[in-house]
Amino acid sequence: MSSAVRKPRKLTQWGVFTMDLTFVWVIAWRELREALRHKWLWFFATGFAVLALALSQAGLATAGYAGLGGFGRTAASLINVILLFAPLIGLSVGAGTLAGDRERGTLTYLMAQPVSRADIFWGKALGAAVAVASALALGFGLAALGLAAARAGRATVYLSLVVYTFLLAFAALAMGFVIGTLARKSAAAIGVALVVWLVLVFAGDLGVMGVTVSLRPSPDALLAMLLVNPLQVFKLGAVYGLRATLDTLGVAGQYAVFRFGAALPWLLAGLLAGWAILCFGLAYALFNRRGDL
């Protein structure tokens, strides 16, 4: 009967995985709109924009050194800010999305609609990803404007930094979705997300630091430890993009370039994308298995 009364839709079907792209779009738009209505996303976006702009200008002031276009503390600080902000934005948006909807009851309402779980999940993921990307793009855009005005920076190098940042933010967003799927309350989800952020940003690296000082691991072991953390993957990619070498990062960086050569940037981007895909997939599986309420 339903096929008689319904116009055929853009149904995408992979096994049990059924999606109606129209619904995905609608939910994505709705999610984007809700995300942009939230003040904290703008708080993050403006905070990131102001810092990025300030940092891009800080080193350009005097004495003609700007045009030398080197990679100094300024660029290092920019990477630092990205390392702090991008995962924070991704994790908190990701954790808040599904948990918040569940807490408000809108998720149950949405699931009561004739849309599949896949529609809901991927629509929300897409909407949140676009929201995060546009928040970051605002910051990067303003900083790029400042750099262009000062005739500094190189477009391709800068773009590679932007791409790696997007990938990092998406990986963090996916982790946030895993948290948000499991949590019942939005506050709990955000809390767990902050702990994860703290581990990624500080605790993990402090651990690596301790192991490096006490055990003096071989370069390949050290590199492996770095590659576990998506933040370090981002950092390797960003520095390689800016420099086309990882000498700055000492023996582990040199080993990475020696071992992987020209494939290194693709490997690093692939690792970040892998984190995003893995976590989104895990989050979807959890979401799919969970009860309605």
């Binding site: 080193g59 030398l68 605002l138 005739r151 920076g153 190189r154 932007v162 000492g250």
Partner: protein, 556 residues
């Protein structure tokens, strides 16, 4: 008057040749007879001489052999005091055998030739041009497809000027020959050459050598100086080599006004000194190298090493001092945005006071200049805990730029108990960076690319925000208005049959059936716990319900 004009024109042409990139090194700059006492013999494909060897055989000391275009076979050994003068880039090609041209007579000159096709045996020193006599001159030549470029062996006062040198392109760096190699040739002058994609420029066992205004790019050792006292290295450009200028066991060296940028090899020092003494390094610009200055056991013995008014910018490390480097003076330098400004490496750790730091500018200085005398009132200390850790455990560099490293620095700065020993102290640091000298001024670049990137990012961000606001409503409306989406038939919108819901073993709904027509309002009425909510939710596909649901159309 005419003579003066002529000299001026010549100087101008020479200057042009020196300061323009290699291909522009026109032979026109060298046309016209010089003040040669002897005869002029002309070689060209059309005669009178058709071979350089024949002309050389007939030449006498003091003659000039003018070679006009054409290609000639080597090898050529110039054993008379003659000037070979190429017009229109005549080629001397040895077809991949031995050394192409040898200047073996004191004062002989080779000028304006393209020299190519040497042999490939490094242990036989196969070179484009070999100078083996005092005061010989190789000037304004172009060297291609040669193993070594210009090999100066036992040729005191030799002149190597304005040549453009590259090695065999098919070999990897270590297998190539040196662009220029000087061996036991005191007081030689190496000036205005362009050396690119060769192995090293080597200056060994030669006193009083002057290296001036050379451009050395993409090689291994830009300049390698060993056992050479009284060398002067000035106004050279060294770009993208593995190492810039490395000096070993050499005294009384002057290094000034060089631009050294992008030395990025495993060592990657712009300037390195080992066991050297009485070193004067001033007004150099060292940019974007792994390390600006590297000092190993320098100054060596009694003597000094002075570094003044140098700009060290954007290097990974500004200055690396091994703990045996004591007694250096760093004054009025500018340390601009080096990732690590000063690093002290090696066993034992040196006291901060063994070297002198006076009035340098530090881009990370946080003090102030209250009396406006251009010097800060607060000393600059380089005391960074994480840097000290990386100096001790170099593989920790893997973690620089990471927030954890920042956290360590922050902890060190905040809690005095963790504060590390200062590496050095500059009591009255300068608060004004030195201006970049003209020779290092960066080219103004057209930055349309950056502007485009900025525009694209901002536009993308704005577009997403705009679409989010207006786009969703339009999409939903379009869907609602879409023809064919409306229900055809009897107007039944929802049909629920045999709806059953259980919470555990408690059955709340048992086989409830109802349907709703288009435009119809359907109310669920009942006391608390009657099962209204499950029924409402079951107008859907929630999985915890069991029902046979004929779902037709629902618009939220």
């Amino acid at each position: 008057m005419v003579v003066i004009l002529h000299a001026l024109a010549h100087a101008l042409a020479l200057a042009l040749a020196l300061f323009t990139p290699a291909p522009a090194l026109g032979s026109d700059a060298y046309t016209g007879p010089r003040a040669a006492a002897g005869n002029r013999l002309v070689v060209s494909p059309a005669g009178p001489y058709t071979s350089i060897h024949a002309a050389l055989a007939n030449a006498r000391d003091g003659d000039t052999i003018e070679v006009r275009g054409g290609s000639y076979r080597g090898p050529l050994v110039i054993d008379k005091v003659v000037t070979l003068h190429g017009v229109g880039w005549p080629v001397i090609d040895n077809g991949g055998q031995g050394t192409v041209v040898t200047l073996a007579s004191p004062g002989a000159t080779l000028r304006g030739f393209e020299v190519r096709g040497s042999g490939v045996e490094p242990d036989q020193d196969h070179a484009g041009i070999t100078l083996t006599a005092p005061r010989v001159v190789a000037e304004g030549n172009r060297l291609r497809d040669v193993l070594f470029g210009i090999y100066v062996a036992n040729a005191p006062n030799a002149v190597v000027r304005g040549n453009d040198i590259t090695s065999k392109p098919e070999y990897e760096q270590g297998r190539k020959g040196d662009g220029i190699r000087l061996w036991y040739s005191p007081n030689a002058l190496v000036e205005g050459n362009t050396v690119h994609e060769t192995r090293d420029v080597v200056i060994w066992y030669s006193e009083g050598v002057v290296l001036r205004q050379n451009s050395i790019e993409r090689g291994r050792y830009g300049v390698h100086l060993m056992y050479c006292n009284r060398a002067r290295i000035e106004r050279n450009r060294l770009l993208d080599n593995s190492v810039g200028i490395f000096t070993m066991y050499s005294d009384d060296t002057i290094v000034r006004e060089n631009l050294i940028r992008g030395q990025r090899g495993p060592s990657g020092y712009a300037l390195g000194f080992k066991d050297s003494v009485n070193v004067d390094v001033h007004d150099n610009v060292l940019v974007d190298n792994r390390a600006g200055v590297f000092l190993d056991n320098t100054p060596f013995g009694q003597g000094y090493a002075r570094f003044e008014r140098n700009a060290l910018a954007f290097n990974d490390v500004g200055v690396i001092l091994l703990t045996n480097a004591r007694g250096n003076t760093f004054a009025r330098n500018t340390f601009w945005e080096n990732v690590e400004q000063v690093s002290i490496q090696g066993q034992g750790g040196a006291a901060a006071s063994v070297n002198t730091w006076q009035g340098n500018y530090w881009s990370d200085y946080t003090g102030f200049d209250a009396d406006n005398d251009g010097h800060g009132e607060v000393p600059y200390h380089s005391e960074r805990l994480f840097e000290n850790m990386t100096d001790r455990v170099p593989s920790l560099r893997a973690l620089i730029y990471s927030p954890a490293a920042q956290a360590v620095e922050f902890a060190a700065a905040t809690f005095p108990v963790m504060r590390p020993q200062p590496k050095m102290t500059d009591a009255a640091p300068s608060t004004h960076p030195m201006l970049l000298p003209d020779f290092a001024a960066p080219q103004q670049r057209n930055n349309a690319g950056m502007a485009a990137v900025a525009a694209a990012l901002l536009a993308g961000s704005g577009l997403c925000a705009t679409l989010a606001v207006i786009g969703e409503g339009r999409l939903t409306n379009r869907q609602n208005d879409a023809p064919g989406r409306a229900v055809v038939g009897q107007g039944v919108m929802l049909q629920v049959e045999q709806l059953t819901k259980q919470y555990g073993k408690t059955e709340v709904l048992r086989r409830v059936s109802f349907e709703a027509a288009r435009g119809e309002a359907l109310a669920l009425w009942g006391p608390n716990g009657a099962g209204k909510t499950p029924t409402e939710l079951s107008s859907s596909r929630l999985r915890s319900m069991r029902a046979r649901l004929q779902y037709i159309r629902c618009t939220p």
